[in-house]
């Protein structure tokens, strides 16, 4: 097979790859080629910058959270405000870019999977602004707990298809989106929402989200004349995290922490990639349980698996209860209502902060705002 395709660049160490049915191989190859051209095309890149700036609201602020800093009395805490992006989360960075990419592939229809619904809303929004048909697959269980986002997607003209198979969450929505894509591959682009899936998706989504880290790095150097000591972001599939971390990976002095909801499993293959995967002893995928629909994904982007093995990034788990504490803390101390996913990162602060010094800086990525989760949180937090 070496003659037709060189496979080396498909992987992050032993992870990643292209574990997909043959029907999709051509589309993935076309996507790889189209992406290469997309990146080199100055006109398209200028168009992307225009949409990110004037439509999505970039650059997003880097906010020094002085009250939160006082609360712990240790390192200064900075928050990268992805919650201020149009549609309320970092997901829009990727969907606008991929919609432009779909256009350059000549595809008029996009399919997407969604867990919390943020990627679904961002996909529906991008489809709207570029005149594409949009179908979003969503687990029936998630449809119930994220009703507001379902309504938003439908308002924006997307078709939301409930998925009743398996655990009825993000994992199963992803299966169904891939099944749709296998059937409609000639006319449809699969707009994957996280840095997961078969090559080239993990690299494409990372590149489209890397703007988060680039802005953060530039802003620290401009304002503080230095880099932060700690970077922290929540990891489900891991798109906000890889986007936040990427510009800092070579800055060896910056300690990087990814916060997960569930355990990490062992190397496995799901959704076209090899990565850490929650599974039973027979290799059947196990369900990840989390209060946040965006984090209960049984695997993680392959680059995260690679970064974990290489020890460049440390991954820590946070419970539902700790996440709710993080949610409450940011809301009550800073007046910012976070989504439940980044609440996990804020929930970890009480463990991290005592180890820091006043001269240090901690930067947290606030990947999205909490409107979508109010209904869930109401059940747990009394006011």
């Amino acid at each position: 097979m070496k003659k037709t395709i060189g496979s080396k660049q498909w992987h992050f160490g032993p992870y990643g790859g292209r574990y997909v049915p043959e029907t999709l191989m051509k589309a993935l190859e076309e996507l790889t080629q189209a992406y290469r051209i997309f990146r080199a095309n100055k006109k398209v890149q200028a168009e992307l910058r225009h949409y990110l700036k004037d439509y999505a609201g970039r650059p997003t602020p880097l906010y020094e959270a002085k009250r939160l800093t006082e609360h712990f009395g240790r390192a200064r805490i900075f928050i990268k405000r992805e919650d201020l992006c149009h549609t309320g989360a970092h997901k829009i960075n990727n969907t606008i870019a991929q919609a432009l990419l779909a256009r350059s592939l000549g595809k008029k229809r996009i399919v997407a999977e969604t867990g919390a619904g943020q990627h679904g809303v961002a996909s529906a929004t991008a489809a709207c602004v570029f005149g594409l048909d949009c179908v979003v697959y969503m687990g029936a269980h998630d449809i119930e707990r994220q009703a507001l986002n379902v309504y938003k997607m439908r308002l924006l003209g997307a078709k939301v298809v409930p998925v009743y198979s398996g655990s009825q969450t993000l994992k199963d929505a992803t299966n169904e989106a891939i099944r749709d894509w296998v059937t409609t591959v000639d006319s449809t682009h699969y707009l994957i929402g996280s840095a997961v899936g078969p090559h080239p998706y993990p690299a494409i989504v990372r590149d489209f989200q890397a703007v988060i880290g680039r802005e953060t790095r530039t802003e620290f150097l401009r304002r503080e004349k230095r880099l932060p000591d700690y970077l922290m972001a929540c990891v489900g599939g891991g798109s906000n995290a890889i986007g936040f971390f990427h510009a800092f990976l070579k800055d060896r002095k910056v300690k990087i922490i990814g916060i997960e909801a569930a355990g990490e499993g062992r190397a496995g293959v799901l959704h076209g990639m090899k990565s850490y995967l929650l599974q039973n002893k027979d290799g059947q995928v196990q369900l990840a349980h989390s209060i946040s629909a965006g984090l209960d994904y049984p695997s993680v982007g392959p680059e995260h698996s690679f970064l974990k093995d290489s020890a460049r990034v440390r991954y820590e788990a946070v419970t539902d209860r700790e996440a709710l504490e993080g949610f409450k803390l940011l809301t009550q101390v800073e007046g910012i209502i976070p989504a439940l996913e980044p609440s996990h990162a804020f929930g970890y602060l009480k463990k991290l902060m005592p180890k820091t010094r006043k001269s240090q800086i901690v930067a947290v990525c606030l990947s999205g705002r909490g409107d979508k989760d109010i209904h869930t949180v109401q059940k747990f937090l009394k006011v």
């Binding site: 097979m1 003659k3 037709t4 395709i5 496979s7 498909w10 790859g17 292209r18 574990y19 997909v20 049915p21 043959e22 029907t23 999709l24 191989m25 051509k26 589309a27 198979s165 398996g166 994992k171 199963d172 299966n175 891939i178 099944r179 296998v182 059937t183 409609t184 591959v185 000639d186 190397a267 496995g268 293959v269 799901l270 959704h271 076209g272 090899k274 995967l277 599974q279 002893k281 027979d282 290799g283 059947q284 995928v285």
Partner: protein, 265 residues
């Protein structure tokens, strides 16, 4: 010992006969029933058995096989039990070639090298993993070659010609041609462009080509066998099993009708 699949394909070629490959989900409705169907299939003239090992996330499969897989998993099936079942059938004289079908994760979890050895020992002749292209897991491919487990690759309507050539060269026993863009499952219509694709494929390789995905009626089986070296039927059989509610006879009746249709070409 000679590989039963290679032997079978050579026999069919000599006799100028078309092949009928039948699929079963291991453990649906129970492992005992699967064994009974397998033996019945052989007696009913099935040439090759494709035994599907259930996976929790079968993303190339439609609702029918998703359902049978989930049912089998709910009963707590494992690789060892399936291997034991086939070894038992072999001891009782089952001679038809059997292909292990599954997604890659259960194999990876079992240990690829350990799996290949155990599968061959239990009596498997080939392996078909829809989410494992030849570019990935070179070590697994080496183990299969070392122990004489045929690897069957799929070629799709979207596969470009140079790639189809490489896949055909890597495929052993036969080539699995996917009739349509989509997941497994019975369809009322066979895509119109299949003639063109198969004509191109036949110019690319001399290896036998079997057509699968969407084949359910004797008429479709007859028509597609006319264009190729035989057909593979999966979801339609699982549906018959589901309808039969534990009885064997109605399923075997269907199988015999399909075999007759295929062999009439």
């Amino acid at each position: 010992m000679k590989n039963r699949l290679l032997q079978k394909m050579a026999d069919l070629k000599r006799k100028k006969e078309k092949a009928f490959c039948a699929f079963l989900t291991a453990g649906y409705p129970s492992l005992e029933k699967t064994a009974a169907y397998a033996a019945g299939f052989e007696q009913s003239g099935v040439d090759i058995l494709e035994l599907g090992y259930p996976f929790s996330d079968p993303l190339a499969d439609g609702p029918t096989i998703q359902f049978s897989s989930q049912q089998a998993l709910d009963q707590g099936i494992g690789v060892e039990r399936v291997l034991k079942m086939l070894a038992g059938l072999r001891r009782r004289g089952l001679a038809l070639p059997v292909i292990f079908f599954s997604y890659y994760n259960p194999i990876l979890s079992y240990g690829p090298a350990r799996f290949v050895k155990a599968a061959v020992k239990a009596g498997f002749d080939g392996v078909l993993v829809p989410d494992l292209p030849p570019e990935e897991e070179a070590a697994f491919g080496r183990e299969c070659r070392k122990h004489g487990l045929c690897r069957i690759f799929l070629i799709a309507p979207t596969t470009a010609r140079p790639r189809a050539k490489a896949l055909a060269a890597a495929s052993e026993g036969f080539i699995y041609y996917v009739s349509l863009r989509g997941v497994t499952g019975a369809r009322s219509k066979i895509p119109a462009d299949i003639h063109t694709h198969l004509a191109v494929l036949k110019k690319t390789t001399k290896k036998p080509v079997l057509i699968g995905f969407g084949v359910s009626t004797p008429q479709q089986a007859r028509d597609l066998s006319g264009l190729s070296h035989g057909v593979i039927v999966g979801s339609a059989i699982v549906q018959e099993i589901r309808k039969a509610k534990g009885r064997t006879a109605p399923v075997l009746n269907y199988i015999r009708r399909m075999v007759r249709a295929v062999k009439s070409r």
